[in-house]
């Protein structure tokens, strides 16, 4: 059985079920949280008890405004900028957006957002991060489960 190469461009992030215009990079960081327990019965060797996990998804891209006709399928840096200022809860999907592929989806807060523009005739850049709301994250497959996200 041959292996399947998963290239960087395949891993993407949807916000509110929409593509992010100009999106260039995405990331995923999962940090399990443990509580160290040391009982008499452990005879001096502590054990790590799993509590929950934190999930963060950084993203960055170029400042390209979506076309008016793309508002139903896309968000862009300006709509994310606006959402970040309201502390809104957004739904997200992360993974390979191809039929049958594994994704993780749920609700999140935009915990970080920034833009960086120079003086050249080049695109500026934006970056930010989503932090998943604990208990809202589900692993599934695209696209059926994203309809629920």
């Amino acid at each position: 059985m041959s292996a399947t190469n998963v290239y960087g461009y395949m891993l993407t992030l949807l916000i509110g079920g929409k593509l992010i215009k100009g999106l260039e990079t995405t990331g995923l960081k999962i940090k399990p949280n443990f509580e160290s327990i040391l009982l008499k019965e452990d005879e001096g060797v502590p054990t790590d008890d799993f509590i929950d996990y934190d999930q963060e998804m950084p993203f960055s891209g170029k400042t390209i405004e979506m076309d008016t006709g793309e508002s139903t399928t896309h968000e862009d840096f300006e709509t994310i900028r606006a959402a970040a200022k309201t502390g809104a809860t957004v739904s997200f999907s992360y993974g390979r957006m191809s039929a049958g592929e594994k994704i993780t989806y749920g609700n999140a807060k935009i915990t970080d957002y920034s833009e960086d523009g120079g003086s050249e005739k080049k695109h500026a850049s934006f970056s930010g991060a989503l932090r998943a709301i604990k208990g809202s994250v589900t692993d599934g497959t695209y696209p059926t489960t994203t309809e629920e996200a």
Partner: protein
């Protein structure tokens, strides 16, 4: 092709304009340009192409080299937002120059650097 678009633009300023390399016994003034392409890759696919473009001006008069420099900068920056030789040019940015004098040939040169983004090849 971005090279064709630039060639079409520059040949109106300096008749002896060449892509990449000039004729061996070319008369001055002459101009040689070269473009290095990098695709602009977004998650949705290739959104365009970025070019680092070098334009070399060669002449026996430093004043004329300077005059050509101004004309070429104006002409190439004016390409932003236009379509030339079927190439949709989004942005053109002059990024500096590298003037020099060749002792052997007694010719003045100046290499102009541009950053160009196009929507297609």
């Amino acid at each position: 092709m971005i090279s064709a678009a630039i060639q079409t633009t520059l040949v109106g300023i300096i008749t002896n304009t060449f892509i990449a390399i000039g004729d061996e016994d070319i008369q001055v003034p002459f101009c040689v340009h070269q473009e290095r392409e990098t695709p602009i890759r977004l998650k949705e696919g290739i959104a365009g192409y970025a070019y680092d473009c070098d334009v070399a001006i060669v002449d026996d008069s430093p004043d004329d080299v300077n005059t050509y420099k101004g004309s070429i900068i104006s002409a190439l920056e004016a390409l932003a937002g236009t379509t030339v030789e079927s190439t949709v040019i989004n942005t053109v940015s002059y990024e500096g120059d590298d003037p020099d004098f060749d002792q052997e040939s007694r010719l003045y040169t100046n290499i102009l650097r541009f950053y160009i983004e196009s929507a297609n090849h």
